[in-house]
Symmetry: C2
Subunit: 248 residues, 2 copies
């Protein structure tokens, strides 16, 4: 399926690459993009290293309609995402006066000092648009086709509510799952025949170990009628082997 | 830190990019590589699309010492990883007679037919080395600097036992975590000063929402003495603010 409404996620953070933190943002964004009809085509996870972030950003933003970054926008020395976006776009990295003012008011109310470290969270690529942060205060931003969000899942999810309103909407990706206990190798040929007959439906086969049902056949596509027809054919090939599949 | 013993993971599978499956392999491999002293520098997740897999494989294998792929080596139509590796390396994609014979014996004992779909799991790049699969039968393989493993976590983990023995060993990455309830913005400047004093120790700051302790300061490096000294300095800056941190 060719889709011009496509996207990539860039996860920025040593904590994921060291295995100390399990990413929770990719699957959240993936599901929301699918519902909006935006195809998530690629994900990259990189270290907190400027050259790697800038190079990857420039590669992804030239290839995809939208790029979503998570991580690296806090007040500490390892939070370098915003500066890297400014470098990638070749624009000045400047204090956003509106954000500065909001942060001053917010922190005054909390009795917290707006020091140099916190001011870094108001420093952004010149010309960016803000992304609202309903959870913790300092906003994310949109620069060109790049949306910059926090790495903490609750904050990222809050920001995504606003990000979503800035995206074009395509045809929502619909999905059906046929669950059964067939061995993949027994149904592979018949399944491949159904896939060939429905080139616009994406059919995936996912075995599970030590689980019942042991196999999930997932069908995805934007055309409800085609999806229903392909699902019926997949269900039929399971039934032909004497098993009643579960369709969800 | 510059490390010539570096690596990338290539996760292959629409199920991750659609959000229907949460990846569990990245953090497993990341931890094992850290313990072996191999730096995981990058992760990419791509679709089950030949051009994307081949292009990404060629990019990663030219950049990194090791590339680990997960997913796409089963018997169904969406399992195209092995073919893509052959294409990336420009070698014939052939039935491995040793694997074929083992699979014949294995499936005969199980009363399962070795049909054309299952034979695809014995079809590999000419000249590859096998990676043992102690869990489910059909092996993975190593082609050049690329290790090809299953996507099902239990099977991948079994294969990794063998993969690990084929990797050079570097200095194991050691880690300490200083847990506390400081606000990032309050300690950011002092933390940055410690980071500058210890350029070979990687210090990351990770806030947690709705948790106590609310902040993890993670220090990583290969030199035990430097790591201990940097950890003591980070702990001291928390103590200076009147809190006794937890060090793990």
């Amino acid at each position: 399926m060719i889709n011009s409404l496509n996207a990539a996620i860039l996860v920025i953070g040593n904590e994921i690459l060291s295995g100390s933190t399990q990413d929770a943002n990719i699957s959240f964004i993936a599901k929301r993009l699918a519902a909006r009809g935006v195809e998530l085509t690629e994900v990259r996870i990189v270290r907190d290293v400027e050259t790697q972030i800038v190079g990857t950003l420039n590669d992804l933003r030239s290839k995809y309609k939208y790029v979503f970054t998570t991580g690296g926008i806090g007040p500490t020395h390892d939070d370098i995402t915003a500066e890297c976006v400014s470098k990638a776009f070749g624009v000045p990295h400047v204090i956003h006066q509106g954000v500065r003012q909001e942060m001053e008011e917010l922190y005054k109310a909390r009795g917290v000092e707006l020091n140099a470290a916190r001011l870094r969270m108001a420093t952004m690529p010149e010309g960016c648009e803000l992304v609202k942060n309903p959870v913790s205060g300092p906003p994310g931003f949109k620069m060109g086709n790049v949306f910059v969000m926090a790495g903490v899942p609750k904050i990222m999810q809050g920001m995504f509510e606003h990000v979503e309103t800035m995206l074009e909407a395509g045809k929502p990706m619909l999905a059906r799952t046929v669950r059964c206990n067939q061995r993949e190798g027994d149904i592979a040929e018949a399944l491949g025949t159904v896939q060939k007959a429905y080139p616009d439906i994406d059919i995936g086969s996912y075995p599970h170990m030590f689980q019942t049902p042991s196999l999930s056949l997932i069908l995805r596509g934007t055309d409800e009628a085609q999806l229903a027809a392909a699902t019926a054919e997949v269900a039929a090939l399971v039934k032909a082997r004497g098993e009643e599949p579960e369709i969800v």
